[in-house]
Amino acid sequence: MKVPLRDLGRGLWSLLSGMRVTLGQFFKPTVTVHYPHQALKMPPRFRGHIELVRDPETGKAICYACKLCERACPSDCITVEGVKLEGDKKKSVTEYRLDFTKCSLCGACVEACKSNAIRFSHEYNLAGRSKEQFIMDLFKRLEAEGK
């Protein structure tokens, strides 16, 4: 089959102009990071899994188990338990179970919370080998951090 000469010219031209773009890219700096050795910093509003916030004055969790977050959650992944200690006006949290396998990180719980007792963590390296690793007690986590 005879290839029209015009097609040949156009083909050569588009090949060369494509090569020119590629060559220009060759001298530009790298845009990726070498992940395990370098990592990007998460922006302040990054939505990771939630965590309890400590009251700077008392050193305890702000959460008083009002269960607003539990009700706001679309996927039923939060279970909060609390007891009323003697001498306290409000309840204190004793268990804050987050089933991260069901969480879709929508942030409804953080918005529902009136006392800013929960916030998003900036953790994103959350691979695990078992399901149990993702059913976490945030209260125990907070306690363990304090020690």
């Binding site: 588009s14 509003r45 706001a72 879709s104 929508c106 942030g107 409804a108």
Partner: protein, 361 residues
């Protein structure tokens, strides 16, 4: 004559779409799409959670244009409640929606050219898309499933970093578009693969309800932003790109031109961005929608997306109906692919820009 299965997991179907093809050699006699592999009951889920709890679902129907889908759902609830978001919120909605449109088209560009056998443009497209995702992650906290809009406004305000970043992006993206023109659009191989391939007439688009770049690539200037104006789009100056050829190249050109128009919209909206609150003051804490039947449509990246809700006056929707563009766009594939060569059918399928979770929802 033999039957050929394309998918459910095939590099050219980007999801779990299965196409059952009856082939005559390399020619297609009949191609029957078999959707449903990623059906997640999104409509049914709407019936067992409150109005606000359904919000995260809307980002997950079409994960590439999450902003538009949330916009439609938020819009329909606002329409039912008679809420009016403050002007600043409306402008930010337009800016983020258009950024999302560009990022969605960039994924399409990369994936489409990957289907056609060109690997390099994918890397260019994802490099540009990364800039949009970084911008949106900075204000919403997520890279794909933003869930940024709320009934009556937005969940948080944008900062100067975002405004500056968006302005820089507009300036950065314009030369990139002309780079794509040189690298991809003018390429003779692409032209030979797309020009005159996969013809779709405007009559077929009307018959199957195809919208978005598919119908605009068939010469019909149908864009929800024009025909049913919503948000602040009537105040902004932009064109609706229309190409009458109806082939895969026309749909390609519509999307490339749309990116340039989206940049224009973002630029204008940024210049006009008013100050003020981003949340309406009179949003009730517990949402109970007045009984009735409400609709709201937006122009998503793939076409007309409409939410219809029926409320019985309670805290939980009675019915949530999602009209998704990908489903209608896929439905014309059977008729238009008849008699095509297999590689041409892949070009046609790619030019429809399907998101399979959006088909099945």
């Amino acid at each position: 004559m033999f039957t050929l299965n394309l998918g459910p997991q095939h590099p050219a179907t980007h999801g779990v779409l299965r196409v059952k093809m009856t082939m005559d050699g390399e020619y297609i006699r009949r191609a029957e799409p078999v959707p449903g592999y990623i059906h997640r009951m999104h409509e049914k889920m709407g019936e067992n959670r409150t109005w606000a709890q359904y919000l995260p679902n809307t980002s997950r129907v079409d994960y590439l244009s999450a902003m538009h889908y949330t916009h439609a759902y938020v819009g329909v609830v606002e329409r039912a409640l008679g809420l009016k978001p403050p002007p600043r919120a409306e402008y930010i909605r337009v800016i983020t929606s258009e950024l999302n449109r560009i990022s969605s088209h960039l994924v399409w560009l990369g994936a489409f050219l990957l289907d056609l056998g060109g690997f390099t443009p994918l890397l260019y497209a994802f490099d540009d898309r990364e800039k949009i995702l970084d911008l949106l992650e900075g204000i919403t906290g997520a890279r794909l499933t933003y869930c940024y809009y709320r009934f009556g406004g937005l969940c948080n305000d944008v900062d100067d970093t975002f405004v500056r970043g968006a302005q820089e992006f507009v300036a950065y993206m314009r030369p990139r578009l002309s780079m794509y023109q040189t690298l991809v659009t003018d390429n003779i191989i692409l032209q030979k693969r797309l020009v005159g391939i996969g013809l779709i007439t405007s009559e077929q688009c009307r018959k199957y309800g195809a919208t978005g770049p598919v119908i605009r690539g068939s010469g019909v200037a149908y864009d929800v932003r024009r025909v049913e104006p919503y948000s602040v789009y009537p105040e902004l100056d932009f064109d609706i790109p229309v190409f009458p050829e109806g082939d895969s190249m026309a749909r390609y050109r519509v999307r490339m031109e749309e990116m340039a128009q989206s940049l224009r919209i973002i630029e204008q909206a940024l210049a006009r961005l008013p100050d003020g609150p981003v949340m309406a003051a009179n949003v009730p804490r517990v949402l109970k929608l007045p009984a009735g039947d409400y609709c709201y449509a937006v122009e998503a990246a793939r076409g007309r997306f409409m939410v219809r809700i029926v409320s019985d006056g309670g805290e939980v929707p009675y019915r949530v109906k999602l009209r998704t563009p990908s489903f209608s766009n896929l439905s014309l594939f059977e008729e238009t692919s008849r008699g095509l060569l297999l590689p041409d059918a892949i070009a046609l399928l790619g030019s429809l820009d399907l998101v399979i979770p959006d088909v099945d929802r």
